[in-house]
Structure formats: C-alpha cells, structure tokens
Amino acid sequence: MQIRNGEDLISLCREKKLPIHQLMLEYECFKSGKEPAAVYEEMRSHLLVMKKSVYQGLNEKLTLKGKIIGGEAKKLQRRSQNAKPVCGYTMSRAISFALSVTEVNAAMGRIVAAPTAGSCGVLPGVLFGLAETFELQEDRQVEGLFTAGAVGLVIAKNASLSGAAGGCQAEIGSASAMAAAAVVEIMNGSPEQALHAGAIAIKNLLGLVCDPVAGLVEVPCSKRNVVGTANALTAAEMALAGIESAIPFDEVVTAMYQVGCALPPTLRETSEGGLAVTPTGRRLKKEILG
C-alpha cells in the first residue's frame, strides 16, 4: 500500500470502498506491523490527552500562564455564557478550546503536537467543539484523528509541517486542513469532500509567515490556532455543501511547498521578521529574554 499524495489516498479509498480514516488505520498497521486494536488504542490515548488540554484552560480554578499569553480561553468562555456569540455556539466553543490548548502548551502542560506544538490547538478545538454540538461519540473523534493524520502525512511527504521550513502556513495551515478533512468525515462526507475541505483550508492560509515574538510559541501562534480552527470549520461546511476546491488538493500542497521555499528566512521561525520585529515585539523580547 502506498500513499504518496492525495490522489493515492482517494483511489485507495475508492478501490477498497473505505473512508480515509479506515484506510489510514490499515496503512498504519501495514507500516508498523501492529494490530489494528493497538493502533486504535494509541490514537485514543492521544485523543484523551487532547481532551484534558481542551478543558484545562477553561477551568476557573487553574491559572495557565505562558510568558506572554494566558487566561484568554476563559474570557471567551465567559462571554459565551453571558452573551450570544457572534460566530455561533459551535465556533465559539471550538475557538475557546483551541485557545485553551495553546495556553496549556505555553504553560508547559501536556499536549499533543498536531502536527506541531505551535499548532496544537486546532485539531482538538475543532473536534471537541463539534463533539459538544453534535454529541459525538468518542469513536467518531478517534476516527477524525485518523482522517487528519492521513492528510497531515500527505502534506509532510509533499511539502512540510514545520514553520522553520515552510512558514506558519505549514503549521497552522496544515493543522487546519487536517481538521477540516476530519470534520467532513465525521459528518459523513466522502473522501473527495474531505480533500476538498483540506485544499480550501490550505488555500485560505497560503503564505502565512512564521514570526513568533521572542521566539516563543505564544504570539501570534495562540490566536492563529483560533483562525486555523475557524477556517477548518468553514472549509468543512463548504465541502459538505458540495463546494469544490477549484485547485485540486495535491496542487494546493505543491503550491504551499513552493511558497514556503520562496519565503525569506526572516519569516521562517527565526523571529527576524514580521510581528517579531515590530516595536512591541522587540520590547516583549527584551522584557522576557533580557
């Protein structure tokens, strides 16, 4: 079994009449020599870590502080309790979850890199936001992680998942594409629709630069997880409505790779450009690192 790109993924799904998540489970067993039950269980343990991190930042009794960020998730939660969220309840919950996870990360808590630590909030944000509204069973969420994993794998093989190599589009953009595809399959969309959602999600974040203030995974990273989450939900909604990406998934991934290569090093995690070198960015750096 070979999964080199999105096309392989789709043709294998068609041939075996399987959704992406099931194909991915088979593929992982094939590659690792492990039993399906063991692989599934390992993925479930990842989901459980996500679950804890999603609620940790919303716990009023806990204080999560990074060097710059902290407490934002709770603000969102309080607002959604006291006012009707402008972006709807599912979205409002999903983004507070996403923020929570990034705060856990910044405060040296336990998270799942998905695909990276910088973008760790998107997938759990989306999965648990959806779970609340649709009362999803845990199984469906684990399946969503396999769908997301398949998309991430294809991106890793054909572009990059690291901000240092490809800019933030590679981290938040990839996380968003992974989450979008997961939502589509959880909502019973087809593998084709899942990849359209992934393609749309990447297109909308194409070119996003990596410019962390003081080199820390906090600003702008935390709030970019929010945009990755919202973007995943909107891309999935479009794909589920039958809207297709005009540019096919594989071509979008190639474009992301090329854009990443064209980004100057100052905008690839070196903190030598973008927000990192704004007057406030520099001041924060000085305050934190001396």
Partner: protein, 222 residues
C-alpha cells in the same frame, strides 16, 4: 530514515511549549541519563546556538534537568524540575558554549554520577521532538534513540563486530542500523546497533563476555 507514520503527524504527546526546544531537550536529557546509566549527582549543560539564546523562554533548561532526573518527555512534572532536582540533591548549571559546526539546537551534557563516573553526551534537537546523539565522551557517534540501541565500548580489534552480530543473530534480534566509531587506530571504539527487537539483559550479559568489550549498554526507546 523511518517512513512517516500517523503518529509522526498526530503526536508526539509532549510537554510544551516547543517540540524542538522543550520536547527534544527533555529527550536529550533523558537519553544522556540512560547512557550514564545511574543517578546523576551533578550536571553541567553547555548550550550551543539557538539553545543558548532562548533556553529559558522555551523551558529548555527545565526540560534538560527533567530528563537528567529520569522524567519522560511527556511528564507534567517537567515544569517543576528545578524544585525536583533540589529535593533529589541534583546540582545543575547552564553555560553557553560554541560547540562548533553542529545543529543550532545542540547541548553538551556533562554528568557526574552517584558512583563518581563522568559522562559527556552531546546531542541535537532536530525538530518535531526528534533528536540525534552526536558524541559520547570523546567519541563521535550517531543515533536517534528511536530504536532499541546497543552501545558497546571496546578495544578496536578484528572480530569484535562479528562476535556482537553473532550474539544478536542467535537471539533473532534484527539489526536496523549498525555503525562503528573510533577515535584513532588501536584506541577505544564504540559500536552502535539499532535493533527492531528488544535486547534483554541476558543478551547484554552474553555480549559483555567478550574480553575486549569494556562496557555494553542498551537504551530502550521511550
């Protein structure tokens, strides 16, 4: 290079905030500790490049100390590792040092163990929580710690590698990678074998029977 698996993308489970500066550092600390093989009394971390510049911001320092204390990279106690070190009586310090032409996220970990042995382990954090050990004491080596890893320190003589291979073969342990490193002719050499199967202590004892092997260790993946 391993083919990507699903858990390279959904994972690792780690302590934040940074896979290269925190998770990788924790992994390097723990690998060093496992190489030393016993409690550490005192440790000095020589930080190079990006590690030297940003170590406190990312908790690289706490992660390194946690690793040397024996904590796994996903242990939530990492953020309190300084306090833990104090409780356990581990002395630690950090120095910036130019380690030469190495990866920007590199650290030399100089340890003194409870029984008074000295170990120097140098390793780099490559991103995504992945690491590479590049030297042990004065010997240049190269391994990731993702496999079960056999390390032997031996006198560089003909037949040693064949002997070690024979023991591994006898117990049906498949070698994924094997490399030998040495300082110069007639001096100490190190053999690193990364295997698919676990190497039990019994197998290790059998390997150590060879008179020219001073020391053999197995690092198990974590």
């Amino acid at each position: 290079m391993k083919e990507y698996g699903v858990f390279d993308v959904i994972g690792p489970i780690m302590i934040g905030p940074s896979s290269s500066h925190t998770a990788g550092a924790a992994r390097l600390g723990l690998t060093a500790r496992k190489i030393a093989g016993e409690e550490i009394k005192e440790v000095v971390f020589y930080l190079h490049g990006s590690f030297a510049k940003t170590y406190s911001g990312h908790g690289t320092d706490k992660a390194l100390v946690a690793g040397v204390l024996g904590l796994e990279p996903d242990d939530e106690r990492i953020k309190n590792s300084f306090q833990l070190a104090q409780e356990k009586g581990l002395l630690y310090s950090f120095r910036e040092k130019d380690l030469g032409e190495v990866h920007p996220n590199t650290v030399l970990i100089a340890m003194e163990t409870a029984s008074g042995q000295r170990w120097e382990v140098t390793g780099s954090s490559l991103g995504g929580g992945k690491v590479r050990i590049i030297s042990i004491n004065d010997l240049e080596v190269e391994f990731s710690g993702e496999y079960t890893t056999l390390i032997t320190f031996h006198q560089d003589r003909p037949g040693i590698i064949a002997d070690i291979s024979a023991v591994l073969a006898k117990y049906k342990i498949n070698v994924a990678f094997m490399r030998v490193f040495r300082l110069n002719r007639s001096a100490n050499a190190v053999l690193i074998a990364e295997t698919d199967e676990d190497i039990s202590n019994a197998v290790l004892t059998e390997i150590e029977k060879n008179a020219y092997i001073y020391l053999a260790k197995v690092l198990r993946p974590f």
